[in-house]
């Protein structure tokens, strides 16, 4: 189909006044001021106000100053991009006259300031599908999303494709769940589509991004919530669901605000609600706010929480695809998975599967944090190596320190050593190395980090977040943490080390859900790659990194 067939809701959007922001294309130049949480914490809202005043004062009538979502390089915020001139300005503060002058000069067509984005390895290695519009559109204006081709995929799907065709396209793309486990998305959709229910089905977006060190979903929701909603609506059409929930962490108030506003605006545009894009397809989305429980990222716990209950997981099967919310078939995908869908429908599964590695298709968004120079949000094709991510995109280690490990996969992931830096990043390689993709948090650690202490940190996390339902996780996390505490104080013995491994193995096999089964992974991966650090604590009562306070003792 051509885009003209899908213009009915779009043309209405174009009629809406967009003053004072000129839409992309109509402005000679635009200044995109990042308003995602990172830059906002450095008062980028004031930067927006100050810059707009300056632009008005300079009489630049054909220049747009817009509020946009995450520009990626969070480490250097507040950020302002002038895309027409390929320039990025970092550390722009409202009261920094020199920076403002340089910005206005660039916008006016004078000598361009700031960094040349095309020459920055931080940007040039990235391929943006999920983050395509992050930093380009105002997250609080559906008009911006529509102006960049937003909702064309949904309109195309509901008007010209059968649900089966949509699923086929998603299956062909090779897209796998971006929440961590990597289950083939097309297969999941097909299962839910096949399930029959007289009482309806549900679509649920898991935005309970709880892995410490992960902020991909947060950035996507704060930067382009419409793209997630569009992906959900396409999913609803494909599986035959008319009601949906987005389950967002309470820790992300800005994401909740923008999501709620996005839902209202999309309903107003006739792109969600009782007649989606003028067809008979009905799709209602509600936001449910989590309340501070990491375990609710587990899908059965998440469903319990949406139902207003304690977020305790239940044994599977039955899987939510057959028995989910209120016992009805439910499709659960995470934010990033849904955000990939519009592009797949629009450009085709074959296009998507041309990106990435043999078994892991497409791109992956990572939150790069820790001891690297360029912390921030990145999107790269699957199959890039850790080295490219840490040293090229990440700019290497901060402060000239030496690399020790990179942690992926959150509390159920692992720590990968220098020897694995040339490993390609995909689901299989990471799993083989004893970690996993997780949701995309990537934390770089330098020589000052003690790996036993890191294992203890994650076990402490799991201990506090264990729901308490099953015994291996509830009491096992506490006991493993105690053993690690003993070792990091220099009081551990070889017997404690053996006990640690034994107990961790039991938890992995016996726990009820992924939290308990995955909780030992940081212990196993650090034992696998950094055993010498454990032995130094146990045999010599020394912490090689100098991070642990050893109080020795004779036991």
């Amino acid at each position: 189909m051509t885009s003209t067939e899908a213009t009915e809701p779009l043309s209405r959007a174009r009629r809406r006044p967009v003053e004072p922001l000129l839409p992309e294309g109509e402005a000679r130049a635009s200044a995109n001021v990042c308003q995602a949480a990172g830059c906002l914490s450095m008062q980028s809202d004031l930067v927006f106000e100050a810059l707009r005043e300056r632009v008005v004062a300079a009489g630049l009538g054909d220049v747009a100053v817009r509020r946009v979502g995450c520009l990626g390089l969070c480490a250097a915020g507040p950020l302002v991009e002038v895309p027409e001139r390929g320039r990025l300005f970092d550390h722009v503060h409202a009261d920094d006259q020199a920076a403002m002058d340089a910005l206005v000069a660039t916008l006016a067509g004078g000598e361009p300031g700031g960094r040349e984005t095309s020459k920055e390895p931080f940007f040039s290695h990235q391929v943006k599908v999920v983050l395509e519009r992050c930093g380009r559109v105002d997250p609080e204006r559906v008009e911006d999303y529509l102006a960049t081709g937003g909702y064309q995929a949904l309109t195309q799907a509901v008007a010209t494709m059968s649900p089966e065709e949509v699923i086929t396209e998603v299956a062909r793309s090779g897209l796998r769940g971006r929440g961590g486990a990597g289950y083939p998305t097309g297969l999941k959709w097909a299962t839910v589509a096949k399930a029959t229910s007289a009482e309806g089905k549900y679509v649920v977006c898991n935005a309970d991004e709880g892995d410490p060190g992960a902020f991909m979903d947060r950035s996507v929701l704060e930067s382009c919530p419409q793209q997630v909603l569009e992906g959900m609506a396409i999913a609803g059409y494909a599986v035959g669901a008319h009601n949906a929930y987005v389950y967002v962490r309470a820790e992300y108030p800005l994401a909740v605000k923008r999501l709620n506003s996005a839902i209202r605006q999309a309903e107003r545009e006739g792109l969600l609600g009782s007649r989606v894009a003028g067809t008979d397809f009905e799709f209602h989305v509600e936001v449910r706010i989590g309340a501070g429980a990491f375990v609710c990222g587990e899908e059965t716990a998440l469903l319990a929480s949406i139902q207003g209950e304690r977020g305790t997981p239940r044994p599977r099967p039955p899987y939510p695809a057959s028995r989910g919310l209120w016992g009805r078939p439910t499709l659960i995908n995470n934010v990033e998975t849904f955000a990939n869908v519009p592009a797949i429908v629009q450009r085709g599964g074959d296009w998507y599967s041309s990106i990435g590695s043999a078994k892991s298709k497409g791109t992956k968004v990572f939150a790069l944090a820790g001891a690297v120079v360029n912390t921030g949000l990145i999107e790269v094709p699957m199959g890039l190596t850790l080295r490219q991510i840490v040293f090229d995109i990440g700019g290497g280690l901060a402060g000239g320190k030496n690399f020790k490990a990179v942690q992926t996969g959150g509390p159920s992931g692992g720590c990968l050593p220098e020897a694995l830096l040339d490993m390609p990043i995909d689901y299989e390689s990471l799993a083989q190395a004893g970690s996993h993709m997780g949701s995309g948090g990537m934390i770089v650690m330098d020589e000052a980090t003690c790996m036993v202490d890191v294992a203890k940190f994650f076990m402490d996390f799991c201990r506090e977040e264990s729901c308490g339902k099953c015994v291996p996780c509830r009491a096992g996390t506490v006991q493993v943490h105690r053993l690690l505490e003993k070792i990091t104080r220099g009081r551990g013995t070889r017997e404690d080390l053996a006990l640690l491994e034994d107990l961790a193995g039991m938890m992995r096999s016996m726990s009820l859900c992924g939290l308990g089964q995955g909780a030992p992974n940081p212990v196993f991966s650090t034992l696998r790659y950094f055993r010498d650090e454990y032995l130094a604590h146990v045999d010599d009562h020394v912490c090689p990194a100098g991070a642990c306070e050893m109080d020795g003792g004779d036991r």
């Binding site: 450095m42 309340a291 501070g292 934390i443 506090e464």
Partner: protein
């Protein structure tokens, strides 16, 4: 979706905020599955969840009291005791942890005698810790009354709290 089993009841007091709670419950159809949403509303309005509030919500939604209590204590976001006038949340996610969140907590304990979960004796400041605020690129991060501050050091943390 389950249907509502309860309906509007008299609120615990004539405090006008209860009307907003009632509006929220009505919008959720007084359905038991709206429990968490309603608890969010009560906490936003009153700052914490006391026994009167929990009992009122329990009766209004037709959810057994022990179940309401079980839910309210399961989620770390819900507070059963009043909090200080101001709150300071120290992030102890991975990135913040390896970048020194521990030293921030130690400093606050040392200077203010304040431990995570505690409130100063004058009721001015409550200290909480969060498991990752997603502000990892600015680690270590703290949130003071809703405002995120990045790259905080033991040297600067007190200054951020001083004006309160």
């Amino acid at each position: 979706m389950p249907t509502a089993t309860a309906r509007s009841l008299a609120p615990p007091s004539d405090d006008k905020r209860w009307r907003q709670v009632e509006v929220r419950m009505r919008r959720l159809g007084h359905r038991p599955d709206g429990l968490i949403e309603v608890l969010h509303t009560v906490q936003e309005l009153f700052g914490y969840l006391d026994e009167d509030a929990l009992g009122y919500v329990s009766r209004s939604l037709g959810v057994p009291p022990s179940k309401v209590f079980g839910v309210a204590t399961f989620y770390s976001h819900f507070m059963l005791k009043p909090q200080g006038l101001h709150t300071c949340v120290v992030c102890t996610g991975t990135a913040c942890y390896i970048n020194g969140a521990r030293s921030l907590l130690a400093k606050l304990d040392e200077e203010l005698g304040l431990k995570a979960g505690g409130t100063t004796p004058d009721g001015q400041l409550s200290l909480l810790q969060a498991r990752c605020l997603g502000a990892c690129s600015m680690a270590p991060a703290i949130v003071v009354d809703g405002q995120v501050h990045g790259r905080v050091t033991p040297g600067t943390v007190l200054a951020l709290l001083e004006h309160l």
